[in-house]
Symmetry: C2
Subunit: 587 residues, 2 copies
């Protein structure tokens, strides 16, 4: 097959789109692959559709190899199943909602767990029908608060979502593994390096989940890994808590003046200067207990303040906080929040209880106090005294205060011990390219999906869900394969196999170019032929570099000597090849 550029629907652009923050967005728009329709919503032009189709074909092959069957659901679905599982509420403003002319409620489905569950419930009734894995490749919509980076975080995207159904936990493990293996094959075929990390399963209500991350310094996700093989995204990381200690021989706490110490650093400096440590070592930020006020916005709109106590050498990681407090949204407390609670003395907040501060003015507030797992019984701290300019030294957890529970919101640091004992972790960044979940029985329970087991007894089905963002992966591949001239597609997903450029006015060149195109077509290659008669070689070369087909053939003056130039887009290398050996050289 060949496509002639003179009549193709393609216009490359000289200017970067003004809203493009990342290379993939900039280049996919400039090279004529996609075109913006609204924030985070794009139209696919012919070149883009070609790449997308090739990625989809690879996914379909590997899904078939994994024994999964393809189905297709609409994006527009009735809201009721999402209400039954609670996700209608939980998704908050991230889900598009609408009503039909009869005021029945609908959603643009962000994922399809509910309706896949109902479909299987409709059609299946026995353990003999299982295992089953079904998938779709489908356009999804999510009302992201801040759509950005082009296709990397859009409001419309194409997703491959698969769902597995099993009658036993062992079955789920096997189905999960089959999809996980398929993902490994898919990313390998796509040339995408990946790390599989433990992930938080919270949002989907599952019991186990792993993310496939492509490691890259510009990734938006942070993950940790240990020398012993532990890997998790920071949201899923669990802190190794020290053993509780006896506090029998600890000295009593003492409230001391610490004027002008609203920050940890000023406090540590002041403490070392005015209240040196009895054992002579210097106080460090890790000796302080920082109490941070967070505001939780619950699904019903209720705003709740919580105080979180964590070692002073760590910040609150808002992504970890979001997971910890989901489905509530988390914000830093505002001046207004503080104004409503005069008991919270900013900069000098101490441990708290449901009844109010442990130290300082008594007040009944009902504000929950949660602590980092490191705040174990017997640990002593320098912390706020709930009085301006004063701190308490040697305040001991379990003796002087208790909390309403522990919470994982502290940032993870390089060197923190991996929870499985496999050594200190290092931090790295990556981009999510796939996500596999063991959902367990949450959806089947909520929607009543049961089958008869070997003994004729009804058992609830256990499920998995498995997602790959097709358009996101396309963008990531573009993000990883480009230079200052344009895109450089891997052969597996390139829109064409070869880009033939004819340059020059001589009839012989054009005849030769047609010959080359025919030769390549005969070899079964997909050819883009730049046959534009009045366009300069420079513009043609520039367009070829921008479009990024991996192999370019230049048919020009060399024709007089019976040769054409083979141009490797990735290396820039150009080689002379006899006219009649082009297909052999590329094939």
């Amino acid at each position: 097959m060949s496509t002639r550029l003179s009549s193709y629907f393609l216009r490359t652009l000289r200017e970067d789109p003004s809203d493009a923050e990342v290379a993939s967005h900039r280049l996919l728009v400039r090279a004529g692959y996609i075109r913006r329709q609204a924030p985070g919503i794009f139209a696919w032009l012919p070149l883009g559709l070609r790449v997308k189709a090739r990625i989809e074909a690879i996914i379909r092959e590997e899904m078939a190899a994994a024994g999964a069957f393809e189905v297709h659901f609409p994006a527009l679905l009735p809201k009721e199943p999402y209400e039954v599982t609670g996700r209608y509420e939980e998704y908050g403003p991230g889900m598009f909602r609408l009503s039909d002319r009869k005021d029945a409620g609908y959603v643009l489905a962000p994922t399809h767990e509910e309706v896949f569950t109902l479909l299987v419930k409709d059609l299946y009734s026995s353990y003999k029908d299982l295992p089953l894995t079904i998938f779709q490749i489908q356009d999804k919509y999510r009302d992201e608060a801040r759509p950005r980076a082009g296709l990397l975080r859009g409001r419309e995207f194409t997703m491959k979502d698969a769902y597995s159904f099993d009658s036993s936990d062992e079955g789920l493990d096997a189905s999960y593994q089959a999809q996980r293996d398929a993902y490994e094959r898919i990313f390998t075929r796509l040339g995408l390096e990946y790390v599989i990390v433990q992930a938080d399963a919270g949002a989907m209500g599952g019991s186990k989940s792993e993310e496939f991350l492509h490691p890259t310094p510009v990734g938006e996700d942070t993950f940790v890994r240990s020398p012993g093989g532990y890997a998790a995204n920071v949201e899923a990381f669990t802190t190794v808590a020290p053993e509780p200690r006896s506090f029998e021989h600890l000295t009593p706490a003492e409230v001391l003046d610490t004027p002008d110490t609203p920050t940890i650093q000023t406090l540590v400096d002041r403490a070392n200067e005015a209240h040196p440590r009895p054992d002579g070592r210097a106080w460090t930020a890790a000796d302080t207990l920082k109490n941070v006020v967070l505001a939780l916005v619950h699904l019903d709109g209720r705003r709740e303040l919580v105080v979180v106590g964590l070692p002073g050498d760590r910040e609150v990681d808002m992504k970890r906080a979001e997971v910890a407090f989901a489905p509530a949204e988390v914000e830093p407390a505002t001046e207004e929040d503080f104004a409503k609670h005069p008991g919270l003395v900013k900069g000098y907040i101490g441990p708290w209880s449901a009844a109010g501060p442990v130290l300082g003015e008594e007040s009944s507030t009902g504000i929950r106090y949660l602590t980092d797992p490191r705040v174990v019984s017997g640990s002593g701290w320098i912390t706020g005294a709930n009085e301006h300019g004063r701190h308490v030294f040697g305040l001991v957890a379990g003796r002087d205060f208790t909390s309403d529970g522990t919470v994982e919101v502290a940032e993870v640091k390089a060197g923190d011990p991996a929870p499985d004992g496999s050594g200190p972790v290092e931090l790295a960044r990556g981009m999510e390219i796939g996500h596999v979940f063991q959902l367990g029985r949450k959806y089947a329970d909520a929607l009543g999906l049961k089958v008869l087991d070997e003994n004729g007894k009804l058992v609830t089905v256990t499920m998995g869900s498995y997602g790959i963002g097709v358009t996101r992966i396309l963008a990531i591949i573009a993000e990883l394969n480009n230079d200052d001239k344009g895109l450089i597609w891997p052969k597996t997903v390139a829109p064409f196999d070869v880009h033939v450029i004819a340059t020059g006015k001589e009839e012989s060149i054009w005849t030769a170019a047609e010959d080359v195109v025919a030769q390549l077509e005969a070899a079964g290659l997909d050819v883009l032929f730049d046959d534009r008669p009045k366009v300069s070689p420079g513009v043609k070369f520039g367009d070829a570099e921008l479009i990024g087909v991996p192999t370019i053939v230049i048919v020009g003056r060399g024709v007089a000597d019976g040769v054409v130039e083979l141009w490797d887009r990735a290396t820039g290398e150009r080689t002379s090849i006899p006219l009649d050996q082009v297909a052999a050289a590329i094939g």
Copy 2:
């Protein structure tokens, strides 16, 4: 390729779905092709997706042959372009509308004229860039008032919509013809008989349009055709009006008592009895002028009454009325409407003017009076006198009354003359399978799509739009190809090429069946293999008949004699074939 039924995601159902009115709906659900999600919204199961993919492949091939390039737009689009062209209003409740978290308005696009226009405006600037035809195959949503007949009139459907762009009228003619030719090829390949009829272009704002109708007595569209080749759907049919006549020598009108004549038939009977025609011939319904009150519901919600005068032997055709009064919706007037206008004497309504009735009580009503094209100047009528029990005889148009305009709302009857003089028309019914429009410059004007012409002058682009309902066509093919046992797919779109059934317990039969499957696979055929071990031959045969793969191979007892049975699903014919010649017999 082969697919084994024992593990395939397929369950056939014994019961018809309770809401299925038509065979395609009933059978596609029962045979496991589709599954209802909400009124008019379906999920596609593996078998259904296979047929859909084959239809789409044929469409894509013919679009490519017609020089059209594929793109893909999201279903969710910003409302602004639809506001600019007025369609946001005009679509009324038929379009799904929604808002994002920032309260920006969006639509689920029912068709994509606006954004295709803007895309070309974005990228193209010269007449040299044209002609251009681009298309997509995409899931669309329309909020149908009465979704019904399964996929035939759903609220979600897959559509191939193409749009052409030209700088001249001649160019548009050529682009239109190219799509029209492609449609003929597509329907021919799909085995769908079709008639091309003139259609009303009103809704799309176009200048010319044609529908491809599949002629069938159960079709929901009525069309007319003449011996001389005229064909139009009834909405587009234009009445041949008689020549105006002189009324110089006509006798004056006379109001006569016609008690108890609220209907045309009672009036004609009474007239022949009490007021015989001077020339001795009998009065017929065609001599009467029937005045019908219609209520127009305008887009802004305003309700307007109009009186429509038409020959008494014709009813108002509400579909023609809808086209005539679009974008207003048309309803019969209600008792409430009549109560508000006592001047409208039900059963005895006469001609009207903006100032009120021509005869009877004077009243200033502002109700428009529109007449059928046959009510020409000089034509005389028996019609209502706006008084209970009285009619006027010999009331002459142009002498005794005038109207505010003519309107095409009267039913078309067999024998009516075709407007092009090609003879009397006959009526037939059909199902719409495609629609081609010359949009002209409406969209380009509204959205500012201009290009530079040969002289460097900006000219507005002229456009066409071309639609095929992919899922609707699938349903029509199912509707045309079935019997009381199930579906009977044509080979071009069947989900599989061959359905192999193994029946019997002997090892030799199963070995032979595997051989046959391998043989067919090797011949490049797509095989569905019913390898279910514990299912009776009867159930297997029943499922095969329901699913409707055109060729069935039964591997059973004949294996002992070295033969299998070839079963033609359409004819029911069964033939014995030597085991080693199965592929040859089918291929």
